[in-house]
Subunit: 213 residues, 4 copies
């Protein structure tokens, strides 16, 4: 079994991106599976092309992309990616698409192909604050998640895949009054549990975890 | 021109639902169009059937559903509805679906058929705090929005339609420490501007309004 | 009976200050009392001197200062003023004291001489979201509240007095994503009830309203 | 040099209190000083009596009380304690005083006798999110801080002392959607730096750290 895990490079003025830092610290074997780690540029389309190259070369059984969600207090497993890019800020190469479709021939949205409720439950059971998120935004994170699921639907029907957002780490919030953070150790532990769960569960569990709005 | 506007009955232990209160206070004519107002039960599927009946009887040019998003501080125009119901709490008849598809033959998601950026811009221009939202949740609000857009896609290709979430009104937050609210007057003014804008704009404008996550 | 009510001029880059806007809109008579309105500059010490002049000229029975607390969602009645100035930003004349005592011969703090619990209860009863606050900050609002109570303790032992913080109004938060606001009408109604209550109650009521931290 | 550090037992339905957990994990020597650790009951007055016993027996040079501030995202050094108890919830023995003076012969408030700005700066410098807080609330934390500073002012004029609030730890927020947390390791590291700084600095530094409200 092989699991591809990706993290992003820093963006939006940050010096580090905890997603690639956490991915780098993952063990090379989790629950018997080989973990392949790839860094993704925070750039529209270039991010997807880098991912496609890795999917093609590695042919993983599971692909999980990880990104920074500054301001969130928990690890959040994304439920859905939508076929639109709408940049609040430019990406790392200055692109700022406004309401542009990602792939013309793609569906309006794709749901994560991961046992998202089980992943949240297992993390919570081991004291890692986690939750389902119903929006990955409209920036490069959603863009990459959409690109991953588009590829899975078009080319890799047996592959599982999805996206995990993680909070800022403490050193990033020193100058951000009021912003929550999570230690890198806890994030790495949470991602490890999430990956284990993605390996173990072929079907998701029925568990309350929706949002009223 | 005819505009159908719907609001919900109270749910989740609340005595009132500001969405139907606001809808009732709208003028019967806005920008020359007839405004038809319908109250929707906060019940999975029954809500959609009530809406379908109104669409069938009234054949409106535009249909806008309004719902309460307690805890939000601004009027939010929803961008997308997803094909899933995942109830955090039971609806008003005790149904609590977990991760159930709404319409088997529907798309994974539908984007609002409204000039959402223009609606936000016009409200903000007239001092009504407004924003785009990228998730309508997974409860009856998303369910109804999905049902509306499903009907538009399948039966009424020329109809515009979408969903607007509004904050609690002040009387609802007396016992909710920390929760923001918006006065009913301001909400009614905001909805009026939103409806005017939906009438006037056939194409949306290009305007920054996305989210990083 | 005479009640002095003060509001501040704009500061911190804002074009308006809702405190003086709300004060200006108060009736000239509330519960039979004459309402005298004074605008205060957002400047350390100059603010207190302007207040002292008004206290001396008007000899009010009650003095209530009102200030803007951007980011709060409710009207808050301040419980205590502390003998320190610690400016996060410069005042309107460029002064930025760091940890400086306000009056060397003053107490470390003074409690509001107002029926604060009754004021909150009466506002809430009439659907105005209100609460007790245990800190007025360390900027010009706390400074003026301290100056008022210092004067009451030293020169006007029979005068009642204190401070009320109010939220941003909607037009101020258009560009402040996530910030709550309150309509000016509701603020004016709230202040009116607060003033009536200050006139009617000589003793405060026993009512839960503390904070764990 | 001897430093007394106290933590509380659990209250408000929590199974643990991170304050005593963190205090227990402190080294027995910090910056050459002996660290004496005491657990305090979350009970009005009994808490102060337990502290007074420890002050009397140990005669520390510095006394720092630590408490849980659930919902805050940073370690916060309290600036001031006020002479009032106003319980939002009952304490661990069912007492719920409303607006009661703590010590009749005490001042209205006491400022912390600690280099609070230096403590925040040193923690931030080493990537521990920290800030000044201007209110310790009106519950047992403020009560104990007031009791400590009252004793310092009346009996131990050369003793330094104050109060530090810490966030929930991750395991406490599993069921508290939206609440931030901080890992126990980081809290212990933060407290260690805070204690070192309290030992090293006899005078506080001039550093921006106030609040507008």
């Amino acid at each position: 079994m092989k699991v591809l895990v990706t993290g992003f490079d820093p963006f939006g003025g940050e010096k580090i991106n905890p997603s690639i830092e956490a991915v780098k610290r993952l063990n090379d074997k989790i629950a018997g599976a080989d973990i392949v780690k790839v860094e993704i540029p925070t750039v529209f389309y270039k991010s997807i092309r880098r991912l496609e190259k890795a999917l093609d070369e590695e042919k993983p059984d599971i692909a999980i992309c990880v990104g920074q969600a500054g301001g969130r207090s928990r690890i959040s497993i994304e439920r859905v990616a939508i076929n639109i890019s709408d940049g609040r800020i430019p990406d790392n190469e200055g692109n700022q698409p406004i309401d542009e479709v990602i792939f013309e021939e793609g569906d309006t949205a794709y749901f994560a192909k991961l046992p998202i409720k089980a992943m949240v439950k297992e993390m919570n059971k081991r004291n890692i604050p986690a939750e389902i998120s119903n929006t990955a935004g409209t920036y490069v994170c959603n863009h990459l998640m959409y690109g991953l699921l588009y590829n899975i639907h078009k080319k890799y029907p047996n592959m599982k895949g999805g996206f995990i957002h993680i909070p800022f780490i403490p050193e990033q919030v020193i100058d951000k009054k009021g912003s929550p953070s999570m230690s890198l150790d806890l994030i790495v532990k949470g991602l490890t549990i999430a990956i284990e769960t993605a390996i173990k569960y072929d079907e998701d569990i029925k568990e309350i975890g929706g949002e009223i709005h």
